[in-house]
Symmetry: C3
Subunit: 386 residues, 3 copies
């Protein structure tokens, strides 16, 4: 009992440390130091400097609001001279992190719920009523068939449909785009960010930007890098696209705002970086279903209470504002963890050196003798004999 | 001075390596090799093969555009025969990563700003004007009370309100849903992705898909796995829901597109995987506030300039398109890090084996004698005595 | 040949373990144990308890739908007495993870496409037609100039423009806000979440919440922490803002729902935490371009088919619902990894202790003699000589 206690007591005060063989040699020593140097270089260079391993990181929380400005003038046979302002060409009027600008459209006026012959392209040509099925609704068609076969033109007959008549004109979007003026529209992008872990707030309207400057400035990498007002054409051009070409069929643009901040530095160094790229693919050899368009309508009631609508197939550019960012600030925990990992890595140096020393060196036998001692359990002498 | 220099010099060429005791034994050896095998198996199997520890990874950037097609026919007493096309049932006409399809609705025609009796259910029944408060606006009510008490029906009197009159009919959504035809609507989902770190772009309209195919194809796991056009009913069915049931009260569907790509392989192997699930909960025993609906209105002005509106309580299915994905490509840094961690783990083998060897083995005393040597600082002999 | 085989055979059964020097000493032992205690404390306290290193984690998938309720009454010279309900003040009627409530507006009635003098502030004052350029469209202006110079008022002449006339009144938003009643609006936020990896689903309408309770309850930290219906004013107040002040120029509010769940605990412990903050910056000393507003229009056709519109510059509060969350559940792999890392860290204890022992201790020479043995490669005796 007493003995047990004592041995435990002894145990407590025991400190075990490996017994070390020190080899003093030009070759081996140099090899050792070089390997150590490499590891330390890696730790300092990569872990500390490049990856900032001594910092605790947090990712960005962001809110974006946008405001487009500009006026376009169109002059078409059916609409006549017409002005388009922001309330006309931004659809829907407000979105989260995104805004759409109408650049081209196919318009169909005064549609009413009534009967009219199916379009030619839909492939519902007919000779007599027998070729048409009452109530048939087909994804290719524009309405529900009434079962009648009527004249589309002098020579062509198609099945009659119950639909919004007259049917939408099926044609390619006009070139040049109707709202080509959109290239001169400007958009004010307001972006407020927050790093919750560090309770750090900032917005892309920097302190030095005042109201008067904001009234007339336009973003430019060289002259106005801090101005949060962007010309649509400039954004598209930076993405190596031609605005007028893109405006015809529409598309999706990405406005990337990156907020990578080192909060150990003065917070004024933490500024947004803007970049622009086209998000929807448009590679020439696989240009199936290009661009971006959707249909929307304005509904009216004429004097005798009948509902009519103006259908628009709107082509345009949707700008998705994407905010990225990571902030780092010194923190003891990640520092310790990384230093620990580094030291552990230093332990591997021995593994590497040992291997070289005990295989390649001329004096390897001497080293081995010193390094290793043996306990032989079962006699293998027999096999050791020649 | 000279001596100091020399010792430093010596120091530089010193290489310290632990002195090793080699035990040659059937049991111990086998144990050792087995443990090593386990660790190596873990490193190769889990770290390398499963987790692809030799790869640098990047997460996906994506843009989504959608286009719904289809026609529905409704026949109601107040609307008569009516055609619904994409401009009618997609609200709002365009959204980012999401689209809403109207499947059922309660419609209230010709509302004007005027006076009418409060609805019965709101609980503002009254006997005389004294029971009504002028200017009272209650979340349960439909308007601002005028203070009068008027006849709702022959026998019921309720407070009069200033509101959009006539008030919305309070009823459950019709069964079957008015736009049940929506199950046959199709949607083209265009999704372009990008892995910035590897400058890799791709879209879900694969190279082999051509325009003519895209005109008629519909997604199907078996026959058309590459077709980006989806039938609404198919999506809902894959989520183990019944479309007609879901259409009554509406809901939220998730369209998940996953782009997990191993960029060490040919890029043609990187294809999207589609999956569908219902996002809003509908468990029977906690079915409070089910489905998804919202109110919207169309505004008109009648001939004498007075504003009227058609109020719609729209039930429908919102499809949220969610794009996931991670790409991996060989990179030397993560490889080294993982191999290092693996070797470090090998070091732990000794810890485990030692423990077994020095506690369980019969010859443990022999081993201990050889392994350990002691420096005794303070004499504990007394306690060691029996 | 036979010998080679044998040596390989021997090799296989070899087990190498470092030879250890055990120092029995009060000081050294205590030092050793303390350092070990520290490391173990770190592993248990930080890695296991705080960071739950034994858990596999998954991040949340979420879907949000919202429904606003409430009525506002405005009384203005141009609109007269007017009721605003959800279909009037929520624009667009449905969004993903976000909803906008109109709180203030500047309204311009009966705009038509016609000619009118440019506004004063735009800076296009003129003396004669020569000062005006035909077809000039300027971002500051409201239309396309016709080249005429006309009377704006008795004394001021400005260039005539082709635009939506009459032009929008340029004024600050009214104080108090027109729809100040919005502070009493309530919103039902339905949020369903999912942790795919653990196949765990939950919604923010908890099982104990029944329909009758949901009809009248309003969220309150103290009395109704589980009610998913929020009063707009309460949300704004919790973000330390004054609703009426914010309502004037509008802004962006963040509704944060956090779902941090320990799935080793009963799932009923996994409940949402709500928090509210203002997302758009409003620091007094940099209050450039404050608030949030956008323009939208309602389009009408008068009896003779001419299109007119009502333009509204809407100020309001956009509520972005942000769902965060991470779930953890016991898993063997991360457990092993973390324990391994912990043990590796224990190895570092020796490094630290050795350094202290061999530099600071009085008996360091004795220890060194025992710990180290030397192989001297090239005789440095000469330098060793005094």
């Amino acid at each position: 009992m007493q003995g047990c206690c004592a041995s435990l007591w002894k145990c407590y005060f025991e400190y075990s440390t490996p017994r070390i063989l020190v080899i003093r040699s030009l070759k081996v020593g140099t090899l050792n130091r070089i390997t150590q140097a490499l590891v330390i270089a890696y730790i300092i260079g990569y872990v500390c400097v490049l990856k900032k391993g001594y910092q605790d990181t947090d990712s960005v929380l962001s809110s974006v609001t946008t405001k487009v400005k500009g006026i376009a003038l169109t002059n078409t046979s059916d609409l006549g001279l017409r002005i388009w302002d922001v309330a006309d060409y931004v659809i829907p009027p407000q979105e989260e992190n995104s805004f759409f600008v109408l650049t081209n459209l196919i318009i169909t006026l005064n549609q009413t719920q009534s009967r009219c012959p199916e379009s030619n392209s839909s492939g519902f040509t007919c000779a007599s009523d027998r070729d048409c099925t009452v109530g048939l609704r087909d994804t290719r068609g524009n309405g529900v068939q009434t079962g009648k076969c009527v004249n589309l033109s002098a020579h062509v007959k198609t099945c009659e449909v119950w639909a919004w008549c007259p049917l939408e004109i099926e044609s390619e979007p006009p070139i040049p785009p109707m709202l080509g003026d959109a290239e001169n529209f400007t958009v004010l992008i307001k972006n407020s960010i927050r790093y919750p872990k560090f309770n750090f707030n900032k917005r892309n309207i920097l302190p030095q930007v005042n109201t008067s400057y904001l009234k007339h400035c336009v973003f430019s990498r060289i002259t106005d890098p801090d101005c949060p007002i962007f010309r649509l054409k400039d954004m598209v051009t930076e993405a190596n696209e031609d605005f007028q070409t893109m405006a015809v069929h529409g598309g999706v643009m990405g406005v990337q705002i990156s907020w990578d901040c080192d909060l150990d530095m003065p917070s004024s160094w933490c500024v947004p970086k803007y970049s622009f790229r086209r998000l929807d693919n448009k590679d020439p050899e696989n240009n199936v279903a290009p661009g971006y368009n959707f249909r929307f309508a304005k509904y009216y009631k004429n004097s005798d209470g009948q509902e009519t609508r103006t259908l628009m197939k709107g082509y345009g550019i949707r700008f998705d504002v994407m905010v990225f960012g990571q902030a780092g600030k010194f923190n003891i925990v990640p520092t310790l963890v990384n230093v620990g990992a580094g030291l552990a890595l230093l332990g591997l140096v021995t593994v590497v050196c040992d291997w070289i020393v005990l295989t390649c060196m001329t004096k390897k036998n001497i080293y081995m003798e010193e390094k290793y001692s043996y306990v032989d359990d079962f006699q293998l002498l027999s096999t050791e004999a020649p």
